[in-house]
Structure formats: C-alpha cells, structure tokens
C-alpha cells in the first residue's frame, strides 16, 4: 500500500523544536522527524516515551547471575565435585568473577538483541529515506496524510508559518 507524506524541511535546530511543539499543539500528528545528528530534547517535544530497554537489561542480567551461579554450583558441587585449593565444593567467593562476567554478558547481549528485534533491524531491511538531505544538513519532518485528504494547503501553511524552508510531498511504497 502506498502512503503519502508531507515533508517539512528545516535548517535550524531551535526553529525545528518550536515548530514540533506548535504543530503538535495544533493537533497534527507527526509521523517522524529525521535529523543528521541527535537533537537534545527532541524526544520530549515529540512525545516519545522512554525506552523500556533497561527493564530488559535488568532481567537479562538477573538471568545471567542466576544462570552463572546455578551452573557453577551444579557443576562443581553436584555433577563433578572437585576439591580445588582445599576449598569447599561450593565456594561462593570463587564463583563471583564468573557470575559478574555472565551478568554483564547476558545483560549486554540481551539488550542488543532485543533492540534489533523491537526496532525490526535486520540485514535485508530496506529503508525509505524521505529526503537525502536529512543525512547532511537539513531536518526533515514527515507528516502522514490520511487517505482521502486532498487539500493540503492548510498543512502547508502550518509548516511554513512554523519556519519550514520547504514543503514537499512524497509517496512511499510500503
């Protein structure tokens, strides 16, 4: 299905931030904003909720801790008990370094893999670049046009009065 977008092109970070606020206040839903670099505070004005990735990291870390402890206790305490350095079979202090490493490993990998899955990043991914200048020196604000809407002058005006230097239309093949 094809989708139509109106693109507002901006060349100033501060103008962009106020524009986003005004346009959202006017009741227009912004599809996304593309910028050549991370803009401070843009998440807040766009109303993007905080990532829940840290929760994933916590549980992956917790899994790493319990897995490492279980593995070492089971291996050295039950499956194949060995006396090492005259210590008891289950000598917790000597398990701590491995536990720490596995916690970090599981948290880090779990977080990266979850991020890839959630954001649908995969090798075959084809990305629609709305405007190539958003990788260079312009900020691009994309607003999706609802089906059946033909009169875009109001939207055009809204974008221009809020400092867009250019307003384009673009059709994207999904």
């Amino acid at each position: 299905m094809n989708k139509k977008f109106v693109l507002g092109i901006y060349d100033d970070e501060d103008v962009l931030l106020t524009a986003i606020e005004n346009i959202r206040a006017a009741g227009t839903k912004i599809y996304d904003v593309f910028s050549p670099y991370p803009v401070h505070g843009i998440d807040d004005v766009l109303g993007i909720k905080r990532s829940r990735l840290p929760i994933v990291a916590f549980f992956c870390g917790l899994f790493g801790t319990s897995f490492a402890l279980w593995m070492q206790i089971w291996m050295l305490g039950f499956d194949w008990p060995m006396i090492i350095g005259g210590k008891p079979h289950i000598a917790i202090p000597s398990f701590i370094p491995v536990t720490f490493e596995l916690t970090v490993l599981c948290a880090a990998f779990g977080m990266v893999i979850t991020f890839f899955i959630v954001s649908k990043l995969r090798p075959s991914l084809r990305v629609n670049v709305f405007d190539k200048r958003s990788t260079d020196d312009k900020f691009v604000m994309a607003i999706e046009i609802k089906e059946g809407v033909t009169d875009l002058s109001a939207l055009n005006n809204l974008l221009r009065t809020n400092g867009a230097i250019e307003v384009n239309e673009k059709e994207v093949v999904k």
Binding site: H40, G41, P54, G85, G86, K87, P93, S94, I96, P97
Partner: protein, 422 residues
C-alpha cells in the same frame, strides 16, 4: 547569572553546636561509664580478657582510636572535595559547574583535620599504632619484633610525621590555590583563571595520586602492622571518594530543598546519582579484589586480617563485616539502579545518608580490630565522638559555603551547566 549567597541562620548554627554539645556529653558519659567499669557494650569481653591475663583496653585508648577513626573519615571527605573539583577541571566538564562550590567548600575542614591528626598521633600514637613502641626495635628486649623492625626504614615516627605534615601542607596549599582562583574568577571574570585552574588541578591530581595511597598506608594500614595489602591505597581512596560524593550530593539536595541552587535540576542530580552509584560498585570491586585474593591464597599472615573480622575477636565484627557489604553495595546498587531513582531527591537522600553511615562503619572495621580487639563496641564514646566531629565538620563546611557565591558567576562553562540535559 546572578550570585547566590548562602545564609546560615543562627538557628542552624546553634543546631550544629548543639550536636557538638550532645556529643561531648555522650562522650563524657561514655568515659565515666568505662572508667568505672560498666562500659557500654563490652561487659563480658572485659571480664574474659582480664581473666586471660590481658589488660582490657582503657578508656583513653578507646577515645584516641575513635578520634583517629573520625578524623581520617572526615579528612577523607574533605580532601575528596578538592579532588572532585580538580577532576572536573581536568576533564573540561561543564555539567558540574553549578554544584562545584559544594565540593570546594568540603575542603575547609582540612586545616582542622591536620591539627587533630597531628595532636592525636602525638598524644595517642601508642594506643593506635603498635609500631610506635620503641621496644619492638630493641634486639635485647624480649618483645623485639624482627618483622616490624625490618619495616623501620619506613615506619618510624619522624618519617611518619614528615609524611603527614607534607601531605596536609600540599593538600591545603592546592586547596587554597584552586579556591583563590575560583573566587577571583567570580570577581574579575575572563578565562585566564579557568586555564590556570586546569594546570593547578593537573598538578594536584599527580600529588593526590601518590599522597592518598601513602596516607592510606600510614593512617589506616599501619594499624595492622604485620599485615599488608597492595589494594589498600585504592580501597581507602574508594571509600573516601564515595563518601565525598555522597556528602556533595546530600548537600546539593538539602540546599535545593531550602531554596538555593535555583538552576540545579534533575539532570544534575542524575549525574551525581550516577557518580554515587558507579563508585559504590567501584568500592565493592576493590573490596572483593582484596578479599578474594587473600581468601583464595589462604596464607596465614594475610588471612589473619579477615579472620579477625569474621568470627575472630569473639565474633564482635562479624555483623559489621556483612553489614558493610549490604549498606555500601547491595543497598545503593539496587535502589539507585533505575533512572528515576537517580533523578528523585528522596531516593538520593536515603541512599547518600546510608552510604555516609556505611562508610563510617567501613573505617570502623578497618581500625577497631587492630586496636581495640575484642574490647570494641559501639557505645556512648563512639556516638559522642562521631557527633562532635560531624558538628565541627558542618560548622567549617557551611562557613566555607557562605564565603562565596553558590553559583560561580564567571565560570566559562556556567551556561553549559545551566542547560545540562541528560
């Protein structure tokens, strides 16, 4: 940007003096109890030790050890103030400009710390440091100790005193130097003070890197004269640093809650919280590195240190040993883990207070087993001395805070700090 002057009301100051007064009363009560033989918290130990032919620790010994413990703890927090500021300068940090006057003022305790340290060592050195006894070095004396005698090239009173005086002189010199630049910057403006401060900070960090480690060996490690640990300099530094950070954060929050530091917001607290969180883990890392190697190698001359703390000395220190780990690692680690906790004043307040108490116990655990043995306790003397030191520290610290604007008005990175966003 306008100046913000802190005003410490007479009422607040009276509270500090009341704290000192209560401390003195408790201390005197503790001394009287102990001198008359009903010492708080060590009744049984006293009797057994006396029965075994040992003389139980006297009240004066307990007093000197407590003075030393509190002074090392508060001097550490004071020197961390200037260390933190120096690190911020060298790192070209912008975010911390709004709060830099607080760690700066922490160091106002240094001269007091120097005097107390010197006096306690001169009058109570024998009570705290076993190695100060002359007979240990006399081959003809039955109490001659070849191991300690072998260390006498380093561990002797004159050299110890020289190191102490030199370190304090250098620390106070660098503190005054940086502080003067910082205040002159307020008055005259311009970037020359900033660049000069970076050079002073770089020099200070080199000095501090060496002196903090050596101070840790001298003031804490040499109490257990036979024992040694190459991690010890780091260990004491980590303890000091996290206490200093907690003190800074707590002060920022209290000032903010009293209407000062208007431009400080959740973003600055977040960064301070990250510092406290990270260095609690760093302290644990050093703690564990020291513990595990000794536990694993299990060499008697090394493991005696942990035996004295885990079950030894009539089990007096076992609970503190575990309490230390819970309050200084598990608690801050779990509570400050989320972003929201680091941005909320109440959470940070609870954790920083816990850390400040926890690291006092950390120093308690470092010093008491080697000096008071099984006669240690936490009674009127401990609480009284701690209150006196806290009161004196707060008086000097808050007086330092009032001496300059809380906002360094002409700092080149001030604007960046105001707009700090994480």
């Amino acid at each position: 940007m306008t100046e913000e002057r802190l005003i410490i009301s007479r009422k607040t100051n009276n509270k500090f003096f009341l704290m000192i007064a209560v401390g003195v009363v408790l201390l005197i009560a503790g001394i009287i109890f102990m001198a008359s033989g009903v010492g708080a918290g060590h009744g049984e130990g006293h009797g057994e030790a006396a029965a075994a032919g040992h003389e139980a620790a006297s009240w004066s010994k307990r007093l000197f050890v407590n003075l030393w413990l509190n002074n090392v703890y508060f001097t550490g927090i004071a020197i961390i103030g200037i260390f933190f500021v120096a690190v911020q300068y060298v790192a070209y940090a912008g975010w911390s400009v709004l709060i830099k006057r607080i760690p700066e003022a922490l160091s106002y305790y240094l001269p007091v710390g120097a005097v107390v340290m010197l006096l306690v060592f001169l009058f109570g050195g024998h009570d705290i440091f076993h190695w100060t006894h002359e007979y240990l070095y006399d081959v003809n004396d039955p109490r001659y100790d070849p191991i300690i005698a072998g260390k006498s090239g380093y561990l002797n009173t004159p050299f110890f005193l020289i190191r102490m005086v030199v370190f304090f002189a250098l620390w106070i010199l660098f503190f005054n130097w940086l502080r003067r630049n910082s205040i002159n910057e307020d008055i005259h403006g311009g970037t020359s003070y900033y660049h000069k401060s970076i050079r002073i900070s770089a020099m200070f960090l080199v000095v501090f890197g060496v002196s903090s480690s050596v101070a840790a060996w001298d003031w804490v490690l040499s109490i257990d004269t036979h024992w040694f640990s190459t991690m010890f300099g780091w260990y004491v530094f980590a303890s000091w640093f996290v206490s200093g950070l907690a003190a800074t954060t707590l002060t920022v929050i209290i000032l903010k809650q009293n209407g000062y530091l208007k431009h400080v917001n959740a973003n600055h607290l977040h960064d301070l919280g990250k510092f406290v969180f990270a260095f609690s883990i760093f302290w644990t890392y050093v703690w564990f590195s020291q513990f595990m190697l000794i536990w694993y190698a299990n060499i008697p001359e090394e493991s005696i240190y942990f035996l004295e703390r885990l079950g030894g000395n009539e089990g007096k220190y076992t609970w503190i040993f575990f309490f230390n780990l819970v309050i200084n690692f598990a608690f801050p680690f779990l509570v400050l883990m989320t972003r929201d906790a680091k941005r909320q004043m109440i959470m940070l307040k609870i954790v920083t207070i816990a850390i400040l108490i926890g690291h006092w116990f950390d120093f308690y655990l470092m010093m008491m087993p080697g000096t008071m043995r099984a006669d240690a306790g936490i009674g009127f003397i401990e609480i009284g001395t701690a209150l006196i030191f806290l009161g004196v520290f707060l008086v000097t610290f808050t007086k330092g805070l009032t001496k300059a604007s809380l906002v360094p008005v002409n700092h080149p990175f001030l604007e960046e700090s105001v707009h700090h966003h994480v």
